[in-house]
């Protein structure tokens, strides 16, 4: 039973299109994240939600809009896709201890987005 699952695993689309990636975790964690990994394998935080509330938004273009319908789900919608958006997007979750997030993240397998 997959702990953090993302769909789809692959997306290939044209510039200007809109796409969404979905993420679900069954670990009972309160905090979920979106990370972007570029072609050089650099993993960078985009957003973090704690119990459906946005707590981290790292200067990501407005074209990216995360949504958390409940604490087990975090989706990412991207409008007007650009070539530079091509990357692997990872969803992750973590638990909280003493009101703070632990750094032990559980990652999904990633969604590879290719913009042509």
């Amino acid at each position: 039973d997959t702990a953090v699952s993302q769909t789809p695993k692959y997306l290939v689309t044209q510039m200007g299109n809109d796409k969404s990636i979905k993420c679900e975790q069954n670990l009972g964690h309160d905090t979920m994240y979106w990370y972007k990994q570029d072609s050089k394998k650099f993993l960078k935080i985009m957003f973090s939600y704690n119990n459906k509330e946005l707590i981290i938004n790292e200067t990501v273009p407005n074209r990216f809009s995360p949504k958390s319908p409940d604490k087990a789900h975090l989706n990412l919608h991207i409008n007007s896709l650009e070539l530079g958006d091509s990357a692997v997007y990872f969803c992750a979750s973590s638990r909280r201890t003493g009101g703070q997030n632990t750094g032990e993240l559980f990652f999904g397998e990633g969604s590879r987005l290719t913009v042509l």
């Binding site: 994240y33 935080i45 981290i56 990652f107 990633g110």
Partner: protein, 109 residues
């Protein structure tokens, strides 16, 4: 500004040839330093957390150590299945994990 720098970028070893990976960091109010392993086509997988200088953690052929400015991941007698990208990350309150660019390890038999 928080920074995490890993070296070398890539490391090739023969099976059984021990070595170390380096992670140097600059962060105020460090709440923990983390090591992850990432296999091709997979998400990163947690290995270790280190909280204070002098702390050490071990798992099979891997040993992580921490000083006030850097961490080392020592690999003793590696096997081909240890081949992966090893990521170092730091955490301070109010942020998410900040990752380094990783060291890609290849172990040949």
């Amino acid at each position: 500004e928080d920074q995490v720098t890993q070296s070398p970028e890539a490391l090739r070893l023969q099976e059984g040839e021990s070595s170390s990976l380096n992670c140097s960091y600059t962060v105020s109010g460090l709440r923990g330093l983390f090591w992850y392993r990432q296999d091709p086509g997979k998400g990163p997988e947690f290995l270790f957390t280190l909280y204070s200088a002098g702390e050490e953690k071990e798992k099979e052929r891997l040993k992580a150590t921490l000083t006030k400015k850097e961490s080392f991941l020592h690999i003793t007698a590696p096997k081909p299945e240890d081949s992966a990208t090893y990521l170092c990350a730091v955490y301070r309150a109010g942020t998410a994990l900040i990752f380094g660019k990783g060291t890609t390890l290849s172990v040949s038999s």
